[in-house]
Symmetry: C2
Subunit: 211 residues, 2 copies
DNA sequence: AAATAAATAGACCGATCGTCTTTGAAAGTC
DNA sequence: GACTTTCAAAGACGATCGGTCTATTTATTT
């Protein structure tokens, strides 16, 4: 729209303005999350994703430079989605801070149940796979955890202010501990095909907070 | 040796009495643990294991019926190894119960450091992979956790008796929680390439116990 | 030596990997 | 409408690796 200086407008079809929304691309990403949360990165085949979406291979490598690039974008999307979901719960002022965290874990449990405990956390999955993954993922995954952790920590700070948890609590450490254990719980719930681990850890964590 | 009734002892080399110890077989299993704790089951190739040991493929399928059978045996070995290691720490009467658990986590941390945080827990790895693995692994892995959990629970019972933890504690649940979080900590330590997660969770868990 | 089993050796084929080249459709200018 | 350029779709391609199977060599006995 802001074509102030059209200088030498060339003939032929003009390039797309940046990466506009594209239906095929989006469905590839959607299917990617579904499959990678179930099987991880290495075991997930491009072909499988393509088959599910009904798109030929050429399209994939038109939209994404490589499987690695695809994965990077998936993680980014997934991280952002959960960051906003976290905020939706953890910044909900109608509830006391610790109940917000509980609301988040409950929501996550519903999510796992909805997919019959077959899908885990994309970030956790890829973290586990670092032994095989391109090293470039490591920093990205660490950053995601750092971000999620910060959001939880903020909520815990509020809990401290409101007196729900002790004055001396180190909210950063506690938030880190939450994610360490929560990812473990997801992993276990997947293995068990049951939500018990999620509740067990959430209960223990919240009880431990109140001391 | 107990060939009481040699009935019709045939000519030629006699069949081996059961599965006797075999050097090649053992080194395949050793290498298998090393590689699978780093890369998991699906991403670990038979060829890679064979190359490391310097053994041709024929030997592998002489000793093991399939990759799946190989994995099953690996898990069995690994589980037994850790069961005995757990006992060594958790039944050590020279220490109060909770300090025994701490001794175990410290030992595990050393182990991870020794391998530069590249190797995780075989059982955790395969659990994460259930999305791709032969379904037969699921029960085996669950059973291993159940076994490890029972050993921790026993230790916690002692802690209850000695008054280290509250009279009302549900040791089974607590032990389950320990393994849920501990596996999460291993996963995270692997991603971080650092032991922080291990300490963080161990501290939180033990503190939570004492209430 | 003859017989039998253990262990080694690698050929084999199907599947899947990720990339690349080619073709067709769409969207503009002249 | 002819031409040009980009977007997107198709699928060919070579390489790797999966697990299995047949054949050969080595060991141990009558």
């Amino acid at each position: 729209m802001t074509n102030m200086d059209i200088k030498t407008r060339r003939r032929g079809r003009p390039p797309k303005e940046a990466a506009g929304y594209n239906e095929t691309r989006e469905s590839l990403l959607r299917a990617g999350v579904e499959i990678l949360t179930e099987k991880g990165f290495s075991s997930a085949g491009i072909d499988e994703i393509l088959r599910r979406v009904g798109v030929p291979k050429g399209s994939f490598y038109h939209f994404f430079g490589s499987k690695e690039a695809f994965g990077t974008e998936l993680v980014g999307r997934y991280a952002a989605y959960f960051a906003s979901k976290l905020d939706r719960f953890l910044l909900d002022n109608t509830l006391p801070p610790l109940q917000r965290l509980r609301a988040f874990t409950n929501d996550a449990r519903s999510g796992m149940a909805r997919h019959e405990y077959r899908r885990g956390c994309l970030v956790g999955n890829l973290g586990q796979e670092m032994g095989t993954l391109p090293e470039s993922f490591r920093e990205q995954l660490k950053a995601v955890f750092h971000d999620w952790q910060a959001r939880v920590a903020r909520c815990l700070e509020e809990a401290k202010t409101s007196g729900e948890i002790g004055e001396m609590s180190d909210c950063q450490q506690l938030a880190a501990t939450f994610w360490i254990g929560w990812e473990g719980a997801i992993l276990r719930a997947k293995l068990d095909g049951a939500p018990d681990a999620l509740d067990l850890f959430a209960d223990f964590f919240l009880a431990g907070l109140r001391k």
